[in-house]
């Protein structure tokens, strides 16, 4: 039975897409068939981490939402595109359903809206047509229709936050929503944690505050920034402390 995992953050810039790409790639590396769908229709970006650019994206989620294609036709096998410079064996497969980066397509969604039911049907169709073990949903920050739908249908929700007061308040909102919607599994991930915080103390503090488990405390890293989203960090640098925290997330998600 496939599992749906939503990755969300209340605010932008938390590294949500980066964590999604890294965790999903590690699942593919473990032999699972993985789908990643970018529902951040207003500000898509995860395709960059998987090495896709505008010219290579003949079809996108937008085309499915406008009835131009079946959703699986907007899925790209990106297994061979990631881990540049390293011999990475993707024994499973990873399929990305990007949102369009064309300004006209983004504008059309903003201007005309879309059929939310079609998006819900699309999630299930993807799992069936591509034979997925896991579907990862990269959500839009904050709360909107896509985000609430994603949370409602998820088996597991990962909320990303930074050590920032604005993130703390916003995370409380999302945790509250997740509890109302009775998401079976909820994990928090602290990203870009500054070195002056002791990771275990920070984990304890956050777990106490939200009464939810922290799956990882990912340190702020110049190495991640230096990669500039040009590849999947944990595939390129598997022994790095950031990659080790990604593996903690993978282990918890796999066990859930």
């Amino acid at each position: 039975m496939a599992k749906i995992i939503s990755i969300h953050s209340f605010r932008g810039g938390t590294g949500k897409s980066n964590v999604t790409a890294n965790v999903s790639a590690q699942f593919a590396r473990k032999g699972y068939r993985v789908g990643v769908i970018d529902t951040d229709i207003q500000s898509p970006g995860i395709h960059v981490l998987f090495g896709l650019d505008e010219e290579q994206m003949d079809k996108a989620l937008n085309d499915y939402l406008w009835g131009r294609c079946a959703i699986e036709e907007a899925a790209y096998d990106v297994s061979a595109r990631v881990g540049k410079g390293e011999v990475v064996l993707m024994s499973g497969g990873i399929y990305l359903i990007p949102s369009s980066i064309r300004a006209g397509e983004i504008a059309r969604v903003l201007r005309e809206g879309y059929d939310v039911g079609l998006l819900n049907d699309g999630f299930r169709a993807l799992i069936e047509k591509l034979g997925l073990d896991y579907l990862f949903i990269d959500t839009h920050p904050g709360l909107n229709e896509e985000t609430l739908l994603s949370i409602a249908i998820s088996d597991l929700l990962i909320i990303i936050l930074r050590t920032d007061q604005q993130d703390f308040q916003g995370t409380a909102v999302t945790v509250d929503v997740a509890r109302k919607l009775e998401v079976p599994h909820l994990y928090l991930v602290i990203n870009k944690a500054i070195s002056s915080y002791e990771p275990e103390a920070l984990r304890h503090q956050i777990e106490e505050t939200y009464k939810a488990p922290v799956a990882a405390v990912i340190p702020l890293s110049e190495d991640v920034a230096a990669l500039q989203s040009s590849d999947i960090f944990s595939l390129c640098y598997p022994d790095h402390p950031v990659s080790q925290e990604i593996q903690h997330i993978v282990a918890l998600v796999e066990a859930a």
Binding site: W66, R68, R108, R111, V116, G117, R124, E145, A152
Partner: protein
Amino acid sequence: MGIFDRIQSEIETREKQEGFSPADLLALSPPLRRLMSYIIREGEVTAAAAAELVQVSPTNAQQLLDGLVHKGYLEREEREEGWVYRTRFARKRGREIPAGIWSALGRRTRPAPHDRDEGPSRDA
């Protein structure tokens, strides 16, 4: 008041809508929210499955589901095995954006090559 009466009463007091929005989930009572979430998650539901989830008789479950159809939250379809209910989602509405913003964006707002002959006009 039993669970059936409570959900029935809640459905009756709700406004009729042109479809259900995921945001509506947050305004429902926990038992009704659980039922709607289940239908969204599973894609569709029969009265028998709803009865098991809500812990009411299949006849009562069908009454609840038909009440949700009447309010515009669900739609139903008759199949060999009986009535099957699906969420009737409201379309996500577009936003009003100041006129001229698209033309100000210039050529980037042109439709994709395969889409030039379809759909409404793109620029304000």
